[in-house]
Amino acid sequence: MEQKRILVLCGGQFAFPTLQTLGLEKFLCGVGIGKGEKEVLAVLEQERVTNGLTYKSFPDKESLSDLKDWIEELQPDYIFSISFPFLLSEDVLSFGEERFINFHPGPLPEYRGPMPLFEVLRYQEKETAISVHFMNPEFDEGAVILKEKLAISPNETYGELAIKLSERTAMVALNMAHMLQFGSQIPRTAQDENQARYFEKPEVADTFIQWKRMPADEIISLINACNPWNQGADTLLQGRNIKILSASLSENQHTDIPGKVLNVTPDGEIAVSCLDGQIIHVQILAGDFGIQTAERFAAKKPVLGLLFNS
């Protein structure tokens, strides 16, 4: 049986383990890269020179006008989309019904949208999933073929989860390629629209710590969900924008107002009061001063008694 040829449309490094795996297993026939950064394009160019990889860059929406012709030229059996930043038009999808398969890095239909990793962490889910589904002209709405679940570790950051998902996606993509290679039919389940939620790309309002409304665990989850892509969760200190990159829950309690710096611990962490009587210890902050440990930040600026978001 002839090996299936798979074109991967992707957005950058997240898909690299998949490209490597599908390449090694001789499924990969080309790579389309959307909004590719220079470093990513340099790697692909190197692969083109040394291993004959076929790739094409789609830096913006306008460039997608070439996509259909390129696909027609390559004639892949299937097209895998892995964090490709653009919606594919009906015209592109008309290349073949059931030939376009998306690997969504979150549970569907509950976490539709461009950044499900942020949302599952922010909402303190214990597990997430790679949802593999057929594509239609709407974002993340096609029938689901399978969901590969994986646990979210306590205090896992966006970056850590992304690496884990990236590696697991490679395995799922290979499994999917085998399924397409050997299967006579691909089972699928329509998404339950009653369970569906779509999350837009997070804005400042989503990444901002609401000290007066959020309990400690929610704040820590938000901080982890913003690390590193947003350089941490946003807050204000004496009118200046500050980002908190890392914090942990203290065993101590308080009776003060939320968002107040209670003390600097012997380890140099900044202890901040939270709405629910819990205290969080801030370890790393960022701002126009750069990225600093809380110890260094507190050494330069007296913080005791200061209120966040005031």
Partner: protein, 394 residues
């Protein structure tokens, strides 16, 4: 040719069974099948429909996939038992995920996965040969041996049970001083290179990985070369096949090991199992055992699939708390890896009145669950197996 179905077939609970073949051990699929069938009969679960498909040596991805697809799509099996390894289970995984079905992998445990699996669609019922090898080597080190020689053959040595053996010895403070891997044809099978090693390491121990006829050849080789003065020998579970041992010449000296099962285990379940297989005209062994126990799991899983409308995750999580008393003792789940665990036994191989081997069960391994938890944390690092086939399917 497409099989014909009675309309009632689709109303019955159906368990699928993917069976490999083996030219080395021709009775393998018959033994597994008889184990499953006799077990269902013993449980009075004759209403469960059992459908089998052949998967060759368990190496052909397409053949395995198509066979599993046939069982799920056309035979309406909600639970499929398959004698395959972890790698083939990975190939079948998306099919079971996409169709909401449960795969129960019946595994010799000769290989070790590089990542312990966690998908609810696959559970593993293993004879844990690699873990048993790890324990056998650990036992040797705990018995006071610090210099080990790994002795294996071309076939057995291709599995990561060799890694299990070496890492178990190292974990208990020993170090591997030499290795010998012999050919797998009778003409190529030689223990001669051991002579030089043994002279160099007279206080060493032979950490051995052989199964089936190779054990007989191994013992003959030791006897021919060293008489009764060979280094002490430690064996993994698959070297404890009792029919084979009863025909093997005992080479003298000390032979110990770790076994997964023995006909001598004195419990009512073992008696029932052996009587059932005997009365079906076959000799009970590790393969009929794994089929027998697999059927108990499959019947329970099939009931749960029916009760829970094929919600596999719910079924799988419920099975995590399921345990049963089987021929080798209580079988229960290790939930994080979705593998079953059963007692393992410390053994010694005795010389009987005919000069051949007989198995003596000394005691069950203490704390085997915590040992297993330690075992799964050890990274296989760069150890890779080139064997895709199910163990002994050559």
């Amino acid at each position: 040719m497409r099989k014909t179905h009675s309309p009632f077939d689709y109303m019955m609970q159906t368990i699928g069974l993917l069976l490999p073949r083996s030219t080395y051990y021709t009775g393998l699929s018959f033994d597994i099948f008889e184990g499953v069938r006799s077990s269902l009969r013993h449980m009075e679960r004759d209403t469960i429909r059992l459908v089998t498909e052949n998967i060759g040596f368990g190496t052909d991805k397409q053949l395995c996939y198509k066979a599993a697809e046939e069982l799920i799509m056309h035979e309406n099996a909600t639970v499929v038992l398959a004698y395959i390894g972890h790698r083939m289970a990975q190939v079948l995984k998306p099919l079971f995920q996409a169709s909401n079905r449960l795969l129960i992998v019946l595994d010799a445990g000769a290989n070790v996965p590089h990542e312990w699996p966690e998908t609810p669609n696959i559970i593993y019922h293993s004879l844990h040969n690699s873990f048993g090898s790890w324990l056998a080597a650990k036992r040797a080190a705990n018995d006071g041996f610090s210099q080990g020689g790994m002795v294996t053959g071309y076939y057995d040595g291709g599995y990561l049970q060799t890694w299990g053996l070496c890492s178990g010895f190292a974990a208990a403070g020993g170090s591997i001083a030499f290795n010998h891997a012999t050919g797998y044809n009778k003409d190529d099978f030689s223990m001669l290179p051991l002579k030089e090693h043994v002279e160099k390491y007279p206080k060493g121990v032979l950490l051995s990985i052989f199964s089936g006829d190779y054990v007989q050849w191994y013992f003959e080789g030791l006897k021919d070369l060293f008489g009764e003065n060979h280094l002490p020998v430690y064996l993994p579970p698959f070297a404890h096949e009792e029919t084979m041992l009863s025909n093997a010449v005992h080479p003298g000296g000390q032979i110990k090991g770790i076994a997964a099962w023995s006909s001598q285990l004195n419990n009512p379940e073992n008696t029932i199992f052996m009587d059932a297989i005997d009365s079906a005209g076959r000799t009970p062994n590790l393969f009929s055992l794994i089929g027998w126990e697999g059927a108990i799991l499959a019947a329970r899983a099939s009931d749960l699939m029916l009760e829970n409308k094929n919600k596999v995750e719910l079924v799988s999580n419920t099975l995590n708390a399921f345990s049963f008393d089987g021929p080798r003792g209580t079988v229960s789940f290790h939930a994080p890896t979705r593998h079953t665990l059963a007692p393992l036994y410390e053994t010694s191989i005795q010389k009987d009145e005919n000069g051949t081997c007989s198995l003596l069960i000394e005691k069950s391994v203490e704390n085997s669950r915590s040992d297993f938890e330690q075992f799964i944390t050890i990274s296989t690092e760069n150890a890779i197996s080139g064997w895709y086939n199910s163990y002994t399917c050559i």
